[in-house]
C-alpha cells in the first residue's frame, strides 16, 4: 500500500495536523494485508517538519517496523526530518 503524503497537503508542519492525518488514515490502514508493505511517497510535498513527521511517521515506524518503507525524495526538509526522527527514536526507517 502506498501513502501519497501530498494528499494531506503540501505544507506538513504542525503536530496537530500530523495527528489528524494519522487518525484520518486509520480506515485506509485497516485494509493493509498482514505481509504487505506500507510505502510513504513524499512526491508533491513542499515542506515537511519534525513535528508533523513525529506524529505521523514515528507511530507507523513503531507499528510496522521494516514493513514501513520510505520512498526516495530529494526534498531536504524530508531528509533532515527523517534523520532527526531516527536519532530521537533510536530506530532506523527502511528506505526503498
Amino acid at each position: 500500500m502506498r501513502i501519497e503524503l501530498k494528499k494531506f497537503g503540501t505544507t506538513l508542519i504542525s503536530r496537530q495536523a500530523g495527528k489528524e492525518a494519522l487518525a484520518a488514515f486509520q480506515s485506509t490502514l485497516a485494509k493493509l494485508q498482514p505481509d504487505e508493505k506500507l510505502e510513504a511517497d513524499f512526491t508533491g510535498v513542499i515542506t515537511f517538519s519534525p513535528s508533523w513527521g513525529d506524529e505521523f511517521l514515528t507511530p507507523l515506524l513503531q507499528q510496522f517496523g521494516d514493513r514501513f518503507v520510505l520512498l526516495p525524495t530529494d526534498n531536504p526538509s524530508v531528509t533532515i526530518t527523517v534523520e532527526l526522527l531516527e536519532k530521537t527514536q533510536h530506530k532506523k526507517f527502511t528506505r526503498a
Binding site: 505544507t11 503536530r15 517538519s49 526538509s77 524530508v78 533532515i80 536519532k87 530521537t88
Partner: protein, 239 residues
C-alpha cells in the same frame, strides 16, 4: 501630484490596529501623524504606513518587550491561523523563485519555531496568546515572536536544575528533551540548528536575557546575555 492623506480611521484599517492605538503611537512618537495647518485631526501618508509596517524586527521586538499592539496582518492568535499563513509564505517563496533546496527549509524552520511557541504555551499564555509572524521576501527575512513563558520556564518542567536563560537556550538547541513532560518531544529547535548550520540561512533567537546566533558552516552556538529581558521568544531568520 501631492499624495492623498489618509485619515486616522483609514490608517487604522490599513495597519489593523485601533484608532486609540494610533493616537497613543502619535503621542509617544512611535508613529507620528500629520496635522493640517491649524487642524486637530491626524492624517497619514500611505508611504509612512508602509515603512512603519515593514520594520518587522521593531514591531515584533516592541511587542515582546512592551506588549504594544501589532498590526493584525502579523498576529496569529492560534496555530490554525499560523498554519494558513505559513502556507501563504510557502506560496510567496515559490512565486519569488527561491531555490527548491532552500525553500522547504526556510518554511520548515519558521514552522518549527512558530509551532514551538504554540506547543509550549498552550493554556499557559501569561497575557496575550499567539504569535507575531511576519516576512519580507525582498529583505529575505522572517520574524517570529511570542509573549509566552519563554524557554527557561517551559524547560524547567523537565530540567528543574536549569538556572538561567543562557543554559536553557543551549539545552533547547542541543539536547533532545521536551518541556511537555512526560512526552518525549520537543526536537524542533535541534532541527532548526542542523538546517541553519548546513544551509545559507542565519538565525538570531532571543528568550529572556539570552541571545543566540547561528549561521551556515558554523555549528557552534554563540549564546550571549543581553542587557534587557524580553517576554517569551523572538526569532529573526535570514535566508
Amino acid at each position: 501630484m501631492e499624495e492623498k492623506l489618509l485619515n486616522i480611521r483609514q490608517a487604522s484599517e490599513i495597519l489593523g490596529v485601533s484608532v486609540d492605538t494610533l493616537r497613543r503611537w502619535d503621542k509617544s512618537g512611535k508613529l507620528l501623524a500629520i496635522r493640517k495647518e491649524g487642524g486637530v485631526h491626524r492624517y497619514y501618508h500611505q508611504k509612512d504606513l508602509e515603512i512603519f509596517a515593514s520594520d518587522l524586527v521593531k514591531l515584533a521586538h516592541d511587542w515582546t518587550a512592551e506588549g504594544s499592539e501589532i498590526p493584525s496582518t502579523f498576529y496569529c492568535a492560534d496555530s490554525s491561523i499560523f498554519q494558513a499563513r505559513l502556507s501563504t509564505l510557502q506560496a510567496v517563496l515559490v512565486k519569488a523563485g527561491i531555490a527548491d533546496q532552500l525553500l522547504p527549509l526556510v518554511v520548515a524552520v519558521a514552522g518549527e519555531i512558530g509551532n514551538n511557541s504554540f506547543d509550549h504555551n498552550l493554556g499557559n499564555w501569561p497575557d496575550t496568546p499567539g504569535i507575531f509572524f511576519g516576512y519580507d521576501v525582498t529583505k529575505r527575512q522572517v520574524v517570529l515572536a511570542d509573549r509566552g513563558l519563554g524557554i527557561l520556564v517551559t524547560l524547567r518542567r523537565v530540567r528543574p536544575e536549569l538556572k538561567n536563560h543562557v543554559d536553557a537556550l543551549r539545552v533547547a538547541f542541543t539536547e533532545i528533551v521536551s518541556g511537555r513532560a512526560p512526552e518525549e518531544r520537543g526536537n524542533g529547535l535541534k532541527f532548526v540548528r542542523q538546517v541553519v548550520a548546513e544551509n545559507p540561512i542565519s538565525l538570531f533567537f532571543r528568550t529572556g536575557d539570552a541571545e543566540l546566533r547561528l549561521e551556515k558552516d558554523n555549528p557552534e552556538l554563540f549564546i550571549t546575555r543581553s542587557a534587557t529581558d524580553i517576554r517569551g521568544c523572538f526569532a529573526l531568520i535570514n535566508f
